[in-house]
Every structure is written in C-alpha cells, then in structure tokens.
Symmetry: C2
Subunit: 422 residues, 2 copies
Amino acid sequence: MALTATESATSTASSFGSAVALSCRECGSRYDLGPVFACIECFGPLEVAYEFGAVTRESIERGPKSIWRYKALLPVPEQVESLPNMNPGLTPLVRADRLAAELGLRSLYVKDDSGNPTHSFKDRVVAMAVEAARTFGFTTLSCSSTGNLAGAVAAAAARAGFRSCVFIPAGLEEAKVVMAAVYGGQLVAIEGTYDDVNRFCSELIGDPAGEEWGFVNVNLRPYYAEGSKTLAYEIAEQLGWRLPEQIVIPIASGSQLTKIDKGFQELVKLGLVEDRPYRIFGAQATGCSPVARAWENGYDVIQPVKPDTIAKSLAIGNPADGPYVLDVCRRTGGAVEHVSDEEIVDSIKLLARTEGVFAETAGGVTTGVLRKLLAKGVLDPEAETVVLNTGDGLKTLNAVAGTGVTATIKPSLRAFKDAGLL
Amino acid sequence: MALTATESATSTASSFGSAVALSCRECGSRYDLGPVFACIECFGPLEVAYEFGAVTRESIERGPKSIWRYKALLPVPEQVESLPNMNPGLTPLVRADRLAAELGLRSLYVKDDSGNPTHSFKDRVVAMAVEAARTFGFTTLSCSSTGNLAGAVAAAAARAGFRSCVFIPAGLEEAKVVMAAVYGGQLVAIEGTYDDVNRFCSELIGDPAGEEWGFVNVNLRPYYAEGSKTLAYEIAEQLGWRLPEQIVIPIASGSQLTKIDKGFQELVKLGLVEDRPYRIFGAQATGCSPVARAWENGYDVIQPVKPDTIAKSLAIGNPADGPYVLDVCRRTGGAVEHVSDEEIVDSIKLLARTEGVFAETAGGVTTGVLRKLLAKGVLDPEAETVVLNTGDGLKTLNAVAGTGVTATIKPSLRAFKDAGLL
C-alpha cells in the first residue's frame, strides 16, 4: 500500500479494464478507483463507472468458459483468466418444462448457481474482490459471514495465495464451521451476534492493524458487487442473446437484484440484446421481509426487522440496497413478495421433484414467490420467465431434514412386493 | 418393451449415434445394442462398439457446454442436448501451481468433478444411462447405492420424468438419505448390508416385475460406463488438445480408469490429439486396496477384500474391472498405489489449503497417491500431470469434522490483538 498517487493511477488504469472511476449512487460525485466504498460528500454508496470499448457477441463467445468471458464489462485486468482465481460462472440455465407445466407457465428456466465452485453465487462477487485486492496490494482477504460467503472467501484466498481471516459468530453449526475452516485460513469466532461481528469488523477496518486487509463486502464492496452483473449477462447469452420477460431474484441486501438490472441495461446499451421490456420480481422470506413490507405499503424507506427464518442466507434485517430494489421493481413493472418457511420447504421439494435441482433455502424462496405471484395473477403465465437458485441444498440440509425413506424392507422380492412399492 | 426386432433396430440406429453394437471385452462376440451386460458365450462384460464419422476439434468446440459436445463419440442420439437431462460435464481443470510448488511438480492440474450438477462424476455416467433407458422404453430408473450414485440417479430421473426407485442399506447417515430422498422418487432401505442390497437388485432384475426397470449400473451398464470417457475428452480439450503425460485416477470398480484410457486412445485414433505416451496411475485407500495389492505382488487376479476405509465411494472390495486396470497401468508405464485414511484426510486439507478445492475422500485418495508416488520417485516431477477429484467435500464432511475455528474471542479489537492473530 506504499504506492504513490502516480503509481496508483498507472496500476489501476491497466488493472481495472474498462472501469474508469467510482461514482456515488446518490449525488454522482466521482472518485479514483480505490479501496473506498462511501461518498465523502453524502455518504452514499459508491459504484464502478465504465467507459466500455467495442464488445460483440462473438468476442464474448470466444472467451473463457467462466465469468471472465465478460471481462470487458467488469473491473478486472485483460489477462484476468491467467491469474489464480476460482473462475466461477457459466452455471446451467436449466429449461424447466416439468416445473413450468406444474405451475401453468409457458416457458420457464432455472438459473442454477449451485454450479459455482463453492456452490453459491458468492463465488461471482468474491472473484471480483480478489482481483481488486490484488491490485490494491492487500495481503489478507476477510469478511464477516454466517454461511456461503465464509466458504467462498476462504476458498478464493487459498487459490489466489492470500492470507484469509474470516469472522463468524460463535456457536455456528459444525458443518458451516468445517466448510469455512477446511481451506486452512484463519477462522475466528466472535462471542456475540452477527451484528457484533460486523461492528468488530468496522473497528478493525478503521485501525492501522487492518491496513492491508481487504474486506470483500466492505472496503472492496464496489468491485465485489459488480460480480452479480454476470448473472444478467449469462442469462441473456444462454437464452440466445435475449432478455427474459420476467425474472424472480432473491433479496438479501438487495445488491444482486439491482446489479442484474444494471447488467441487462448495459447489454441493451451495447447493442448485444434487443431493447425489450423486462419485469424484475424480488423474493423474500416472510420472516425477513422488510422490502416486501415496504412494497405492500407503498413506502420508499425500509423499516428494519429482526430476522426469523430458515432462509439464513437472505436474513438481512436492514438491507442496504432495499430502496434501490423498490425503484427497480417499480420501474420495470415487477413486484416484491414473500413466502413463509413452510412454503420455502415445499418449494425446495417441488423444484427437486420436477427438475432435479436441490436448492438452498434461498432457491425455495424464489420458487415459492414464483408460484405465489402466478397464483395471484401478478406474473404473466405466457411470458418467458427465469427464476434464480443462488445456492446449494447440501448447505441447508436441515430445511428438509424430515425427508426420508419410502419404506424399509427385508432383502427379498416378496417383501418388496408386499410393501406395495411396484 | 414390446418392440419387435425390426422396430428395435430402427430405433437404436438413430438413438445411439455412432454406436453400432455391444462387444464382449473377453471373447469379442458382438450383440445388437440392447439392455444386456454380459456375454452369453463367456460371461465377459459387454462394452459399446462404434463406427465414428468425421469429428473435428472445431465441431466439438461449437457444441454445447456439457458432455454433449462429445456426443459424436457417445452412444446417444444427435438431438441429445434438447432432451431433459442433467447435462453434466465441462467441469473445471484447475491449474494447481500452488499445490505443484508444494509437491515439487513442474506442472499440475486438478480435474474437479465436484462441479457436476449433483457434485460428483456419477452425473456423467447416469446421463448416459438415462438416454439408454429412454430408448429402451424403461419407465423406472434404479440403482443400489450408499452415496453419490443414489443422488445422481434420483436427480436425473426427476429431470427426465422417469419414476425412480433407489435402494440403500438401512441405517445410512441422515445427510445421505436426505440427498437421495429430496428428489421425490422412491427410496427403499433394505435391512442388511450393501451386498444384501445388490443381491436383492439381481433378484428384481430377473423377475417379470423388473421388466421396465433400468438399473443404471447393471442392465444399462455398457452405456453408463461410457460416460467416464468424457473425462478424458475434457482433460485433453482443456489442455489445448493435448494428452497429459501422467494422470492419477481413483479406483472403485476400476471402470472409470479403463474408460479414461479408452477415451485417450479414441482421441489419438481420430487425430484430435498428438499420439504421445501417457502414464496412468490408479489410486486406492489402504482399507480397500485389492488392486494395489495385486499390483504390488505382480498378480493378474484380484483377491477380494472387506472394505474398511473412510473413502466410502471407493469401497468396492471386489472390483469388476480390477484386472483391466492392471493391464492399463502396465501398458502405459503407470502404477497402482494406496494411502491410509490419515493420509487421505491430510491430502483433503492440502488440496483445500493450496487450491481452494474441497474434495471428497476420493479426492484425498488421488492427491495422497500423487504425493506418495512423487516421494517414491515413481511419478516424474517434470511431466505434465493431472489428478482427479471425483466428488465434493460437502458430502463427506465427517472426514474433516475435527477442523474448526482458530480462536474464539470477545468482540473487540483488543481481544483480537491479544489473541496474537494479526
């Protein structure tokens, strides 16, 4: 971090590709590309601004079979695919005819992000943070997490040769601890709640001791968040360079939903897809539904809630991008809806039974909201629709723990026939 | 299954692509493509024989981003990618520079098959069995399993719209039961050992009640087994159309190892890669190492063993393809080696720590054997080497269950500094 201003400018010019600045989402103030995340003027969130060069469908299709095929649209260096990184993305867009038939939809696809290296969409955003951390000369990769992010950061740090230090609340389930610890980084349990962990991390970032630390979703957040745009790019390319007419996206902080919208808009501006209307629908669990409540009540502000749901990966009670989510859903003619824990479990089973996709609870939330909004007549059953599964059922086994064997029998054909199983 | 011989011939001609017959591996007798698996003449295993048309690197590279890009080399119909199937494959070939440096290897890659839809290589073989089952008009997809295969079959059946019925020994761990049951098929626990389950399945196949049942690894085995060839094709393509000089492959039944050899040979014959020597190394767990023992002793026959190892997915005490594995390893100048459960766990952690790949126990076996054969001077540290990880660490969490937090601290910077973690 001993770079002078001049050196920094030179290094970032080549290291961030077509990204040219950070820009405040509220007041538009611009900043040099750096490890900063909030506007000095108005405290608004900063996001990456670009000056895109020529990008064609063909140049993308010739690229790597990962998110790096879209590198011209991301804040990463030209040679990114030769650097050690988890190389996530290009996960399956599953044509879901059997689920569509059951729900009465004409055309449905599941974007299944459990296909990423650590089996959640977090690999996309962490991959961006890794490249930014490399450019800024950080030596330690860090985050606070209770789930998917912990594993994604620890794995990516191992691959890229960073030291990692991940903070979790004490008392997490053993499976989650193992998944974060196995990559050999530091895993520090903090006595307290997840909020206590976050407060501790803020303290560390402000201290000289944290100078060489890249917190993926704090001081690297503007870069990190851009990773979600790749979901938009992939869906459009996998549909044959076409935007879906409707898409159902889970809401945790809300960042993913707003970045998918940003990705769609970029594709239109670059002439890579036809400019046709699309409707974005946000999905929350009833037990943590501050954005859905605001939508219902027509509010512009989000009332924080205390989460109580099995959909832990969406359990952010005070979602930073909530107001932007409301904007996007209003502008595109979408909606925000919520489903109960019971509906989440039913929907996990529905998706597994019809399409062979075993989703995390977040995938139960989106599938449940898809079903609910169809039943309400809010979603158009004739429109081409995409629903996101952002994680893997293997990581939230407890949600379907009751699912067991059909029968237990003695090892004979007679016993099998007697059990009425033929 | 009421097809006449003529109808069957017509249907199979189009449904099995360039496959033309089944051929006995022992005596060479040929059979029409059908749901049969053993030679009537000599009881030898049957495998698929082809008459390949023109196949080029370009025709493959233009194909789907799944194993179906190699459909011209598989027993599947031309339009296979439009049929409901899990579409596995094209999993990452990870350039493992950090692991290579630690082991003193010049060039190493990890073929990471945990990227498949149900996170093991079994998705490749089951995808073949699904297409064969469709062609033969089977209505139920079945298997006996204690792990990866159960989930792969249940998921693929759900996707493709088959009824599924999977048989497991009673008393399996809950996580495995949930993973097989969540897809909504029948899951039948058999009171007894895995051997009892297999005997029961043989009884069912011979009974009229089992007429419309496709057991993926019994009456569909010749088609099923071909799926492993796709590992060879992918590795060669991902290396830039080149065979690796050395490859380390796990041995369960031994089928995968022999099929990867078959795949490499096909690529050479078709002129898709240069004909250069490659050495194949087989990997077993010490607690189930019948092939490694035969190799050590210079035997041609395999003495069955009673498995006792944490590498459950490799725990086949009487591996059907064991003698063929010995042939391949001898012919290519390779070897067969085994590692202890302790070495397996160490190797899982080594792979996770250096490359961010969290492997199943089978991946610990191959990585452990890689390390052991390098230390012994059997593997050449200068030769380009590939090591297979065939499954996901999430499915064998128990193996590394002791892995936990570095420290537990109070939520303050002082506590963090006092713990000496900076």
